[in-house]
Symmetry: D2
Subunit: 293 residues, 4 copies
């Protein structure tokens, strides 16, 4: 289907750096009389890698090219290793997974409800039933996928993940957001949604292992509480970082208020990362991201 004249397309290219890449890309775009409304590009001079993102619109009177055909033309003029995507600028469907904590999920539901999320939540999945009320307030489907059977026996992880994938695929979700989802996902599952799962976790200086992190942060007297949003890879909590921030705390903070600061910074950082991802502003390259903010 050819895009209508009013449609904005996002053109994404990354490949090993070479002479004249922008020249070649803009050549193709210009031949189709596509105006570049905004664009970013970046050369990682260390890795000699090139990243490009543009939002384009047909010039007045010009017909919009078919996305796939445009991508194919770009592939033709670019190095063999180039990854090219041409995709409609639109509110993409996401599934949010949560467990029992409402702060990150609630923030996303609210942004969606008030029109401040450049995507749309199509469903929420949880391994507990705790958050059903919150989700249903927003008129969205809530899927409770317990990780144990009615007799309380743990389900095999594969079965549980199969159910989860069933929901995601049933809604044709393009991204999966783990909003304090406290289940470790298998490499197999992650591999089904490569670069399509976003996670949030708290981050401390110095780092803490083990349980009760805010208790530890309190005992250690930290002065900042941080959060990191990242793309999920097979290494849990260690995928490419999309966004990070911190909130300042001091000795007057109880462990409970440190945890509240943690919730505040987690929801902010997750919301920022989800917005970036939904607008296709995040490129992955090895363990790094290039984020066109």
């Amino acid at each position: 289907m050819a895009a209508s004249n009013s449609a904005r397309e996002i053109v994404l290219v990354d490949c090993p750096d070479d002479v004249g890449l922008i020249h070649r890309i803009t050549g193709v775009l210009g031949a189709h009389r596509l105006n570049i409304e905004s664009n970013h590009e970046f050369v990682d001079t260390d890795a000699r890698y090139f990243f490009f993102r543009a939002e384009v619109m047909p010039a007045a009177g010009a017909a919009a090219p078919e996305s796939g055909a445009l991508a194919a033309e770009l592939v033709r003029v670019l190095p063999k290793a180039a990854r090219v995507r041409v995709t409609r600028a639109e509110r993409r469907p996401i599934v949010v997974c949560a467990t029992r904590e409402p702060h990150c999920l609630g923030e996303l539901l609210l942004l969606d409800a008030v029109g401040d999320l450049p995507g749309r939540i199509v469903a929420v999945v949880s391994n507990h039933d705790t958050l059903r009320g919150l989700v249903e307030r927003f008129g969205l489907p809530f899927h409770h996928l317990p990780h144990h059977d009615p007799e309380g026996r743990d389900l095999p992880r594969a079965a549980h993940e199969e159910a989860l994938a069933g929901v995601i695929d049933g809604y044709a979700a393009e991204y999966v957001v783990l909003a304090r989802y406290m289940r470790v996902l298998s490499a197999d599952f992650v591999g089904r949604y490569p670069d399509r799962i976003v996670n949030i976790h708290h981050s401390f200086l110095p780092a803490f292992a083990g349980a009760s992190p805010y208790r530890q942060a309190f005992v250690r007297g930290v002065k900042v509480i941080g959060a990191t949003a990242h793309v999920v890879t097979a290494e849990l909590d260690d995928g490419p970082i999309i966004a990070q921030d911190v909130i300042h705390v001091d000795h007057t903070f109880t462990p409970e208020r440190m945890a509240q600061a943690g919730r505040d910074v987690e929801k902010l950082v997750l919301a920022k990362a989800v917005r970036l991802v939904l607008e296709e502003r995040v490129f992955l390259h090895g363990r790094r991201t290039v984020v066109f903010g």
Copy 2:
């Protein structure tokens, strides 16, 4: 003089947006076998204006083009209104003007001394003699240009500014940094160094007019103290903004500690702005800047 093969050049272009600008620029660069080491570009879709900055190096074995010739070639392929600059990436000479407060001047002197300033301070000018000791510690020339004659009569502003321009021009300074320089500069003077003078001032929410701003900030109980670095235009304190930041304060801050917070944020923001300007990362467009960070 042709740049040596080892020389990095900075290419700066801005002009009304048009189809294929990057294509044309990169075409010229490619014809000279110049590798783009880093580049930024931005289209202000509101004003339909295009901004481009690249750092380029001749490819292995390629001869470096002469800067002026390269600029002329670019002008040939670009819209008539295009401004083109091709300039060597090097530590540019700056003159710093101060009055009696040492914090901003000191920060620049220190960054220069330890190699963290992408430029070099060639002289310091002041309308008082207070800061001579600080400047001479760093082995730099200090020019005391009083704004009154030995009998204490105010010099005509034109005479004082003529002396100031004499110092700036004598050192062939490319930028002038007002590091808490408490004299208003005439439109005539500013016009001699268009887009070449950087200033810093404190900024408050809400804004205060009049004297003793930190006293006012204290009385008003503000919770943040800010600073703004900007390009100096004929409208003092109102030129295009390069950088801004704030520091959080609270009710325990006396007016003196608020002033200290103000000094801290002023020196940080000025240092940031000066670094950006020295690396030719700041474009001006009307009342706005485009800053390629």
Copy 3:
């Protein structure tokens, strides 16, 4: 009614500074075998004014004193000008006023719903009907108080404010939060709820007057977007400041994204201020606040 043994009380004192104030206060508290669980005090050495806040609990086995009696005892030992309040630590009822923008209201509704607000929203009032759906999602009463009659004629301000006061008083709300409520309140109305109304507004460096502030911020190329939460006094937008913060923006931000950054920082700063106020952590003194964070 005597507080139950499990009840935490908040003791608030402010008065001209004098020798031994803490000594006197803690003497009274100690006589009642009240343990101080947390306390803050501050002397504004400029104004020679003293501020004190403590959370107290009866020691094991001790009976809780009646709040009014405790306050009266404190008054007896303190300077004549002292203001003393003894109040139960509990989730206080608030009414939120909004107009058409949902971001600030939504943040408060969400924090309340997930248990991260140390108070409880008892009703929402608006001069438009736009936000009814959002409020009713959270199961809360929504009062549409249009500022014009069914024929479209503007209601007299007094009549409109009378209706607003009717809602506030009907719910026995202790605080009123203006969450982007776009009506100017009369000095009369403000005087009915002295120090009990909190407002949020955006703040810019430099300040802008007039319409379309984000458009102006864009044209001016600001690098930070701020927000200020303050206590409402007869001078609109100029009451004592409770909290302020900023978000960094740059030239790539359209006016729309600047407005989004503005919404983000407004909701954060308002939520922070409302939490502080609900926990009785904010003292007013002239045009300043003392905030025991």
Copy 4:
């Protein structure tokens, strides 16, 4: 020696919490007609520990008590485990230790030179000679204490630390600041200056072990670069935290610019911590600090 009437004293107390501690302290202060100019106190309700800091001045006409006598009186009325210090508010002498990096040392030298450090640097020690020029610019003694003998053989650590202690003690320094001093100090050495040594190190989210941290931060694509200032204990880099902050970075930062951001945040955080320590605003309790900012 009795303090002169004009002298401000700092009173510091910490002990297990108990009923009426402030009452007892202020009773002693009041008996001496000492006005409390500013004070802070804090009860760690978790550890049931009490912290108190006041700046006091004799009331008009009152004689200043002798510091030691005042401390002894306070000890008498306080629990047995109380630590009491009464100390003159003055610019305390510090020795700064550095290795080859000038940024943190330079910041302290500059703040001292311009009067923005509430202490005075009496000497700088380094295990290299690199920073001599910078230090001598500020007219301060520079002690080069190499960690190897003239033949290049490593000195025994004890001998090197003995020399370092000789300098510190020779100047009667009250605090030692490690401004990027790249030698691990022995527990013995640290024990000679308990709670008197301040250190700075960079901090990352996530944490990195091993060499080239900014290279690792670059490869990992972190979005914030942090720094932590802490009191040195036998566990290097893991003592109680005084101050922390971060600077935001992005994919356009080379490892070199990440290192520059790291230098900037290190010098800021160290300067903040040193100011707090010099004003006796930092209490240590177990692995935590209480910082009266």
